[in-house]
């Protein structure tokens, strides 16, 4: 090998060494940045993949990011880079040439002979570089290949109808209007409240406040209707008795009931039509039928028909209005109500128990579901009310006992029901 070739060889070796050292400086400064960048990319990719398919834009963006961090790493490591002169000195030391290389590069001596390839000047410490590299690739693989469920946009359910109670309210309003019994102003307030609910934004229709207001309105309408019908029923019965009485005067009790029913119909949430109210008021003031019978009958028919409309509209049992009572009839409170005559069957118990039915349990059917309790039973007994010992008293307040009985006998005498008293009397004997 001629001298020029030897010099070229050593210079080439030096340049190669310089590139090698500079590359590792660049890697040393860049890989931590790349690792941090990949951490951020993983998070971004996992989020993006949920929404989008990663297309070429992502890979171009990633490449741009890597390039950017590569440039930053270059800027950070540039001050550490070595030139071929330093590399030559480094190579000289590594080969043990005692300065011959850098002296030869200055022309002081001839180039030392090339003695084989020689051992590498530097070894790579894999821990640092490969750790960062592997972690970066791992992060990237996680971001790209971790299974991610695609986000599917669920269509928003469109609210097309309000709560059922609104429809029921509207039906109730139409029923009430069809009955021709209630003043329009009374129904207008309900309509106004219902409209205010309907006019809300659709997304608020089923909000807690809206549903609560709807329930309140429905409850109010129901209570008002029941109260109205009760008052109307009372007024109709009073008017019916007046009609039956002909020219006679109503009893004081009927007058009181009529006045009360008129007052309720006037002051209730649902007010009776003004013409009907006027007729009833005239009757109540005069105490006798000051209107001609035909007009009275028309009024009763109209009221009965309207009440029937309301009852049917609200799903109530059919209401039959008839001459239930007359002055000669026993009062329903006396327990002698007639069955099978079409009127409501009062659920009353006679003050005097029927000896014939003593000891029997009877199921009493009552179609008036607004007032009756399902499965309610009545019991008849031969025991009289007078059998109770009113003086017998048990514990009293004031931390004092006043017991006039003897032991447990006082308890069953005062607290037990009649049948229980019989059982206890049989058990303990006649004490």
């Amino acid at each position: 090998m001629v001298v020029a070739e030897v010099g070229s060889y050593w210079r080439k070796e030096a340049r190669s060494l310089a590139r090698w050292v500079n590359l590792w400086w660049w890697l040393d400064r860049t890989l931590p940045l790349w690792l941090g960048f990949n951490c951020a990319v993983v998070v971004a990719v996992l989020l993006l993949r949920r929404w989008f398919d990663l297309g070429a834009w992502f890979y171009w963006g990633y490449a741009l990011g890597v390039l950017l961090f590569g440039v930053v790493g270059y800027v950070r490591s540039r001050s550490r880079f070595i030139g071929s002169d330093k590399a030559l000195a480094c190579l000289d030391r590594a080969r043990g040439l005692q300065g011959a290389l850098y002296a030869a590069s200055r022309g002081a001596v001839s180039w030392p002979p090339v003695a084989g390839k020689g051992e590498a000047v530097f070894r790579v410490s894999f821990n640092r570089i490969h750790g960062s590299l592997l972690l970066s690739l791992l992060f990237l693989a996680v971001g790209l290949f971790l299974p991610i469920e695609k986000y599917v946009k669920r269509s928003q359910l469109e609210i097309v109808a309000g709560p059922n109670a609104w429809a029921e309210m509207e039906e109730w309003l139409s029923v009430m209007e069809a009955s021709d019994l209630v003043e329009e102003e009374s129904l207008a307030s309900f309509e106004e409240q219902l409209d205010s609910l309907v006019d809300q934004p659709r997304e608020d229709w089923f909000s807690d406040g809206s549903l609560e207001a709807t329930d309140f309105l429905a409850e109010q309408s129901k209570d008002s209707t029941l109260q109205f019908l009760e008052s109307l029923d009372m007024a109709m019965q009073s008017a019916s008795r007046l009609s039956s009485a002909g020219e006679g005067m109503l009893s004081e009790r009927d007058m009181r009931e009529l006045s009360k029913s008129i007052e309720n119909l006037d002051l209730g949430t649902l007010a009776l039509r003004e013409d009907l109210m006027k007729t009833l008021s005239e009757m109540a003031e005069s105490g006798q039928s000051s209107v001609d019978p035909q007009t009275l009958q028309d009024m009763l028919d109209r009221m009965q028909e309207g009440a029937q409309t309301v009852r049917q509209g609200m799903g109530m049992p059919r209401y039959e209005m008839g001459p239930m009572y007359s002055e000669s009839d026993t009062r329903p409170e006396a327990g002698n109500g007639r069955d099978g005559e079409g009127g409501p069957t009062p659920l009353t118990v006679s003050e005097e128990a029927s000896p014939e039915l003593a000891g029997n349990l009877e199921g009493i059917s009552n179609d008036d579901r607004e007032r009756a309790i399902l499965g309610d039973t009545a019991f008849t007994s031969e025991v009289r009310i007078e059998d109770f010992e009113p003086e017998a008293r048990g514990m009293q307040a004031g931390d004092r006992a006043h017991n006039v009985g003897q032991g447990g006998s006082a308890v069953w005498q005062t607290r037990s029901r009649p049948k229980e008293q019989i059982l206890l009397k049989n058990y303990f004997g006649n004490e």
Binding site: V21, W24, W25, L27, D28, R29, R80, I82, D85, K86, A87, A89, C90, D92, R93, A94, Q98, G99, Y102, A103, R106, G107, A108, V109, E119, A120, V121, F122, R123, V124, S125, R128, I129
Partner: protein
């Protein structure tokens, strides 16, 4: 003096020729001073670099014998001055003496002192007063003596080998730092081991004169010294010397954390000159990192002033230089943590 970056016309053949003589000189000195090869090499380097040497060691280690052997091997005129507290500057430089001529005219004639020698052994220099020390050190730097306004040049070459005893410091005048800086090297004369002592006992008699044959002439020494200045000092080595000297200052390196004052530029010049001399001694026309590393301790240690804390902890200039040689990369190549030197 040649430029550091420009190769000189010095040929390897000339270097080989002078190296032979220099090797003969070191060989002759090693025959006088057993077990002190390193010191002998450094003394020869100092001669080539035209530097003065401060020898420190206990009595009886061969300091005087070294100087005597050197003067005999090169045939240099040698004087010895035993420094004492009452020694005056004129005692070493010389004094004007009133003389009467045959014509009866009286004039002052300068009577040269022991300083006018090619090789001066200043024994126990720290026992002289600062005034006397100063006179000697001025001569070392200027290579001339001024008496009564007249400058008297010292012979060429002119070398001072000063000794000082590290013990019995009572009543001594330690050399100021500025004056210590004038010495090229400060060498520690170490006690030899048992085999060295056996060799000394076999070859030396008590009070016997050392016989050393001449191996070089004065002209050879001057030529070698001249060639030393032509030895190529590559920029890489210059950079290394500069970085080393810079690193001796506090805050410039970890090793110099206990340093109060670091080395001066004169230290860098001295180290560069001695590196050239060593290269010549080793038959090279260029200096290298190894030359610097071999001479750094001798050239720099006495120029480093430690702070009080470091002195208490026993950290010396020598230990600082050793740490610097490990800390400072000769080629200035820093490698990342991901690379490890395979061979260095």
């Amino acid at each position: 003096m040649s430029s550091a970056s420009t190769p000189t016309p010095i040929t390897e053949a000339r270097v080989q020729a002078i190296q032979t003589k220099l090797k003969a000189l070191t060989g002759a000195l090693n025959q006088v001073l057993f077990g002190q090869e390193k010191t002998v090499e450094l003394v020869v380097v100092a001669l080539l670099a035209r530097g003065h040497v401060l020898l420190e060691g206990l009595p009886g280690l061969g300091k005087t014998e070294l100087v005597k052997g050197l003067s005999k091997a090169i045939q240099l005129k040698q004087n010895r001055v035993q420094f004492t507290p009452d020694l005056l500057p004129g005692d070493i430089t010389g004094n004007p003496v009133l003389q009467e001529s045959p014509t009866g005219e009286r004039t002052f004639v300068f009577q040269k002192g022991p300083l006018f020698a090619e090789l001066l052994l200043a024994d126990e220099i720290n026992r002289a007063s600062p005034k006397t020390q100063s006179a000697l050190l001025e001569a070392m730097q200027e290579r001339s003596v001024s008496v009564f306004g007249t400058s008297h040049a010292l012979p060429d070459p002119f070398f001072v080998f000063a000794t000082q005893n590290p013990i019995e410091l009572e009543g001594t005048y330690p050399l100021p730092e500025a004056q210590i800086d004038r010495f090229l090297f400060k060498l520690q004369m170490e006690r030899g081991d048992r085999s060295v002592i056996e060799k000394i006992v076999q070859h030396r008699d008590l009070g016997g004169e050392v016989s050393v044959s001449q191996v070089m002439t004065r002209e050879d020494l001057l030529e070698a010294s001249s060639m030393t200045r032509e030895v190529f000092l590559p920029p890489e080595v210059v950079s290394y010397i500069a970085r080393l000297v810079e690193a001796t200052h506090a805050g410039m390196s970890q090793a110099a954390s206990g340093v109060r004052f670091g080395c001066s530029p004169r230290a860098a010049i001295s180290l560069a000159a001695s590196a050239r001399a060593r290269a010549l001694l080793n038959g090279r026309v260029y200096a290298n990192f190894e030359d610097v590393q071999a001479l750094a301790s001798a050239a720099l240690q006495h120029r480093i002033v430690m702070d009080y804390q470091a002195k208490v902890e026993g950290i010396s200039g020598e230990s600082v230089v050793k740490m610097l040689l490990e800390e400072i990369s000769p080629d200035g190549v820093e490698v990342p943590g991901s690379l490890k030197s395979a061979k260095l």
